[in-house]
């Protein structure tokens, strides 16, 4: 087990290095720069700015410097917000995105799993058709339509929840539901397929023959087996939640990391862009590793090499 984890970490290191290198060169080879804004800056000041951040040096020297500071886990100063470092921006923005993502995941599980179980039990019945159609409809409406729609109904018409901004628990509700809905859909489908499979297995018949109540049979015996693939779906889902939250943060004016990323990309803030991408890459690799380890605990049949 320890060996498996170490091996995975060792495999990830070159990938992280590769991402760092690729983003660095993509950004530098692209036309434009952080200080070439529409506001004309006198050439002397521009030269000074370039010199301050070492942008006047040859590319490979900049690259070397960048890698060396990465080893110290220092992502460098932000060009867009001169008095802040990228580390500070991440520390400030990420907890917000994380809270949003976690709440959305919770919403997805709370809707998705029960819906999938119901659909599987009533397989081919009316309820199955209904849930699966609702589920498909859920994927077919993009979150950036769902979000404004929710704001329109629940904030501007019914006054139930605040339409935007961040801080109070009520402000978490609408964004979390908006972000979570598409994933509840995937989870519902996955749960349904797996439940259908599990319900045909011998151990379910045995349990039923021994007189286990139908409710307990479904929600404990069967669901335990059916949830395994759902767990493995959670790894990639974290990736999607992270990217999805970019749009949600924009709609609900939430000061999360996703919004910083887009803003800094538009203003060619090299360090913030590279830092955020790298941070998310490490996060996602870690999330996938955690999910794989969790999987192993839940299903002792799986062997790791």
């Amino acid at each position: 087990m320890i060996k498996f984890i170490l091996r995975r970490i060792a495999l990830s290191l070159p990938v992280i290095f590769l991402i760092a290198t690729t983003t660095f060169f993509i950004l530098r080879l692209a036309p434009g720069g952080p200080f070439l804004s529409e506001r004309a800056i006198p050439p002397e000041i521009q030269a000074n700015l370039q010199a301050k951040y070492g942008l006047d040096q040859p590319l490979w020297i900049q690259y070397g410097r960048y890698l060396r500071s990465l080893l110290r886990l220092d992502l460098g100063p932000s060009y867009r917000y001169p008095e802040r470092t990228v580390n500070e921006i991440i520390v400030e923005g990420f907890p917000v995105s994380f809270e949003l993502g976690l709440a959305a995941l919770l919403v997805a599980l709370l809707i998705g799993v029960p819906a999938g179980v119901v659909a599987a039990v009533k397989h081919r019945g009316f309820l199955d058709r209904l849930t699966m159609s609702v589920v498909l409809a859920g994927i077919s409406v993009p979150t950036f339509v769902l979000g404004p729609l929710f704001i329109f109904f629940f904030s501007l018409t019914l006054y139930w929840f605040p339409p935007a901004l961040w801080g109070s628990p009520e402000q978490l509700v609408l964004p979390a539901i908006t972000l979570g809905t598409p994933y509840s859909v995937y989870i519902a489908r996955l749960t349904r397929t797996e439940m259908l499979e599990v319900l045909q297995q011998d151990y379910i018949r045995t349990a039923r023959a021994k007189g286990v109540g139908e409710f307990r049979l479904l929600w404990r015996h069967a669901l335990n087996g059916a949830l395994l693939p759902v767990v493995s779906f959670l790894g990639p889902a974290v990736a999607d939640l992270v990217t999805g939250s970019i749009v949600i943060e924009k709609i609900f004016a939430i000061p999360g990391l996703g919004r910083y990323f887009v803003e800094s990309a538009f203003s060619r803030d090299y360090t913030t862009v590279m830092g955020t991408v790298l941070f998310y890459a490490v996060l996602l690799i870690a999330a996938n590793l955690v999910v794989d380890v969790l999987y192993k605990f839940l299903d002792p049949r799986i062997e790791y090499r």
């Binding site: 990938v15 692209a30 970019i246 924009k250």
Partner: protein
Amino acid sequence: MASILQTPADVLPAALSLRGIVYRRMRRDPWMLLCATVLGIILLASLLAPWIAPYSYEQIDLKLGASPPNSAHWMGTDTLGRDLFSRTLYGGQISIAVGVVGTLVSLLIGVLYGSIAGYRGGHTDEVMMRFVDLLYSLPYLFLVIILLVFFSSSILMLFVALGLVQWLTMARIVRGQALSLKNAEFVQAARLSGTSGTGILFRHLLPNMLGPIVVYATLTVPAVILQEAFLSFLGLGVQPPRSSWGTLISDGAGVMSLFPWLVFFPAAILAAVLFSLNFLGDGLRDALDPRLRHD
């Protein structure tokens, strides 16, 4: 002679060719037929936009402004007085093109990669699939955003970038198929008779994997269309005055409480297309999945 040869085909149950499955499924499930019809109509209307659209997509009429649906503009007009129906039709061309080309790019990479990994097996397979596992855990859309922001966000770049995001799952599916097919007797026979690796791949493996590939491609198209819309919402998709369904929705969403029709029509069309594609893809996948076929 001919009649003798034809008899078995009539007596035996229909072979599970892709076309056969699609046909049977459609006949049994009227909902799938409905979805296919809706999809067909929207597709055709978009393709024929230059002949159907009553106005051009960039014809501005500031005096008109944003007007609700009426007899002259039956989807209404946007804030610049452009006809929404025409813009939705032309936008469909772009959205559909992005979906199809993105899927083709992902097909090209995914099928080649997956079939090589699966057919070679052993160490090659191990290394290639570990690589895919790792790529799975990358924040792809972030890289796409970088590509689009830092280089021009041209339609071509959009095609390539979105295709690059989508090939991983395709590679996994194809690899699984190749792995299970490579020891089949007909492949062994081909190998024994001296067919080269590429020959086996293209003549024997690929035709037999076509079912799952086509089904998964049906599910990839809506995913790519949705991603284009996602990028458009961030201002990275198609640039004005051209429009895609994504840019129309994103423009409309901003003024939703004032001019609700501007978001309603494009969103409804996009949802109908995504729903139909997903419904068809799901149905076909269930039909092809041997685990689900018997019930």
